[in-house]
């Protein structure tokens, strides 16, 4: 390609017949029109083409050029091209619009909690966040019982449940994801990598409802038999199942980050006498740490927001307990389980949308940090390589 172009330029510049005496710009003008393009030629800059300039310099001794250099008179792009480009621009902001709409419409349905009299009779922000002394209770407690005679919307059991399940899933998925990434990037040959990466993508492709189903039907029984648990469905089972969805996220980003570490780092470390494990532990991992952190952050975002696995495998009991083997209820699972049965616009409905807004904002924050870390890593390693 470039070779051909080179030949062409040479020809035009130095060997083309330059006897254009008496040729007026008007005679030369039809030339571009002879090209088979029907839609007209592309608008170029109005300065004379460089080819002509050089021709002029070379041949100034023999040829007198017409006073005004011939200009390529270019037709405008057809209207529908410009219209289509405008449409393209308009469609391109759809992602921004989508994010904005998600926030606006989730928050809009949650907003009555701040002003609606009907809703505020049942629940206020203070009642959600501070433990209340409910009738029948000895001391103030945060309780989630939205469909009892006195609806109680204390959110702490849900937050605690979310934290517990997320903690378990991260405790499982970070070592597994990063460890597998270390092996694939440092020890495995290219062929292993070519097989492993698509296989891990398959793991990522398993629908969460299938993972939830597997946790519910198979893993719960295993865990109960092995650990002699009281409740079959609990934070531990759902956390471990959740980690299956998080591992691919952490693995993929960590592997990418580890592989992006410049070879020179490894060579320098080896030349200084470091053993391989020292190089991996003290050079490669620290250098890749922003990328790994990004993977962990995105995995965390996934874990906090994941719905179906937790809904099916956590037991969904909204209790305040620090034990991992008790049933737990997360924010996402609460929304999924309860929204179908609520009165539109009622207190319960509003509170669920409020929880959804919180979930959105929390994951948005986590993902923004993760995304920022990825960009930073790319910039840093890009300049170092």
């Amino acid at each position: 390609m470039s070779h051909l172009r080179h030949v062409f330029v040479n020809d035009e510049c130095f060997h083309a017949p330059v006897s254009i005496e008496g040729v007026t710009p008007a005679d030369r003008r039809p030339k571009p029109a002879q090209t088979p393009r029907a839609n007209g030629t592309r608008a170029a800059d109005s300065s004379p083409p460089p080819v002509l300039e050089r021709r002029k310099r070379r041949s100034s001794g023999r040829v007198t050029l017409p006073p005004a250099p011939p200009r390529l008179k270019l037709s405008k792009a057809p209207f529908w091209h410009r219209a289509a480009e405008w449409l393209l621009h308009a469609l391109a902001i759809s992602a921004v619009v989508a994010i904005a709409l998600i926030l606006i419409f989730t928050a809009k349905e949650a907003a009555p909690i701040l002003y609606s009299k009907v809703v505020r009779e049942e629940v206020t922000l203070a009642k959600m966040w501070w433990p209340q002394l409910w009738p029948g209770y000895d001391e103030a407690a945060s309780v989630w019982q939205p469909v009892s005679d006195i609806p109680k919307f204390g959110v702490w059991p849900l937050i605690l449940g979310t934290l517990k399940v997320t903690l378990v899933s991260m405790a499982v998925s970070v070592p597994l994801g990063v460890g597998a990434a270390v092996y694939v990037s440092q020890y495995a040959g290219p062929r292993t990598r070519e097989i492993v990466k698509p296989v891990v993508e398959l793991l990522a492709g398993i629908p969460s409802v299938v993972l939830g189903f597997f946790a519910l039907m198979v893993m719960a029984t295993w865990f109960q038999n092995v650990f002699h648990l009281e409740s079959r469905l609990n934070a531990l089972v759902s956390g471990v199942a959740l980690s299956f969805a998080v591992i691919p996220v952490i693995f993929t980003l960590s592997e990418e980050a580890l592989r992006a570490v410049p070879r020179s780092y490894v060579e320098a470390s080896t030349a200084l006498g470091a053993a391989r494990w020292q190089t991996i532990g003290r050079v490669i991992l620290p250098a890749a740490s922003p990328g790994i952190a990004a993977g962990v952050a995105l995995g965390l975002g996934r874990a906090v927001g994941e719905t179906m696995i937790v809904l099916m495998a956590s037991g969904n009991a909204a209790i305040v307990s620090a034990s991992l083997t008790d049933s737990a209820r997360t924010i996402a699972a609460t929304i999924a389980a309860e929204l179908a049965e609520v009165v539109f616009g009622g207190a319960h409905y509003t509170v669920l949308f409020f929880l959804g807004t919180i979930l959105f904002l929390v994951t948005f924050g986590i993902n923004t940090v993760g995304d920022w870390a990825i960009r930073r890593m790319k910039r840093r390693l890009g300049s170092a390589a």
Binding site: R37, R42, A77, H81, E85, L88, H89, L91, A92, I93, S94, A95, A98, I99, L101, I102, F105, K108, G177, G179, A180, Y183, Y187, E194, V196, P198, V199, E201, L203, G205, P207, S208, V209, V210, G212, F213, F214, L216, M217, V218, I247, G273, A275, W277, Q278, L298, R302, L311, M312, I335, A336, L339, A340, F353, G356, L359, F364, N367, T368, G370
Partner: protein
């Protein structure tokens, strides 16, 4: 440096290298090296084993009940017999609508980002941040969004304008589920398409422009056809994701059981993924529905795996052609 030290340099370096190797090959280092390799290899094996165990369990329990009748019949006897035909039809309709709505927008966004936008403009940045975050929004929040925006706002608005307030579109419906899913899968399409556009050589664009094509002609007659395999990858992955997700369609259109197939954009629909959720959590007789449940999971898993493998193959072919290492 003097001449004499220069002359003796190679042996000195050799000696240093040998000493370095000897120093490195202490028992502690050899043990630690082996331990790191074995430990990281073991984690990889665990990850692969998880996938293998899930596959094995589902295939072992689901294959026996899987038959043509299962795929072509409606559920009978309170979901304890029959097949999942209506669910498959519902899913296919939803996925087609989703693709029609989502893929063009995703492709357009990717084209804009890669071919038109300046990489540093605030708008481009905003779009990129939005795409990255859209991929991380919890699926249940998409469900809330679908309910709040499509059903309560758009649907109710349509009803008020065209149907005199009768509830037609202001309730869970196929079209709303499909549109919600289209928004959910938007980042998948955008990322895959942009990767493909990145693989198109710059010379092709330059050649096209040099021949006098407009920017628009260059993009749509030269660049996009070259990137078509990437668009295909994105579409396949989006379909796979859309077929498997449950949370976004929980409140926007999925139904537990319907006697009729969905015939209208405003009808509700059944879906295998929702079927799995309902059967495994709300079934009164777990043992009776278990074979059906496993077979449904097998169908779902086979579908998503086939699609994902297809996407991997298409992408690998594209990368090989573009000369990018996989």
């Amino acid at each position: 440096m003097t001449a004499s030290s220069e002359a003796s340099a190679p042996p000195a370096i050799d000696r240093a290298a040998i000493a370095l190797q000897a120093a490195r090959r202490t028992r502690r280092n050899m043990f630690a090296d082996g331990a790191v390799a074995v430990a990281s290899g073991a984690t990889l094996l665990i990850v692969l084993a998880i996938l293998a165990i899930i596959l094995f369990d589902v295939v072992r329990n689901g294959a026996s009940h899987l038959s043509w009748a299962f795929l072509s019949q409606a559920p009978r006897d309170g979901m304890t017999a029959g097949g999942i035909f209506p669910a498959i039809v519902g899913m296919v309709e939803m996925v087609i609508l989703m693709t029609l709505a989502g893929v063009p927008i995703g492709v357009a966004t990717a084209i804009y980002l890669h071919e038109y936008a300046s990489p540093v403009s605030p708008l481009t940045r905003a779009i990129r941040i939005a795409v990255a975050n859209l991929a991380g929004v919890p699926s249940i929040v998409f469900g809330l969004f679908g309910l709040g925006f499509f059903i309560q706002f758009l649907g109710a608005g349509i009803d008020k304008t065209f149907f005199h307030g009768d509830k037609v579109f202001g309730q869970p419906a196929l079209i709303w589920a499909a549109l919600t899913m289209a928004v959910l899968t938007l980042p998948v399409v955008i990322v895959a398409t942009e990767e493909a556009l990145r693989a198109v050589p710059r010379e092709l664009r330059e050649a096209s422009l040099a021949l006098g094509a407009t920017k628009f002609q260059t993009v749509f007659n030269v660049v996009v056809p070259q990137a078509s395999s990437g668009i295909l990858t994105g579409t396949i992955l989006a379909v796979s994701r859309g077929a498997g997700e449950v949370a976004p369609i929980l409140f926007t259109g999925a139904a537990y059981f319907l006697p009729l197939l969905p015939r209208h954009l405003s009808s509700q629909f059944m879906s295998p993924s929702y079927h799995v959720y309902v059967l495994s959590t709300q079934s009164p007789d777990v043992d009776a529905t278990k074979p059906i449940l496993y077979a449904t999971v097998l169908v779902l898993l086979a579908l998503t795996f086939t699609l994902n493998i297809a996407a991997v193959i298409v992408r690998a072919r594209m990368r090989r052609r573009a000369g990018v290492p996989v």
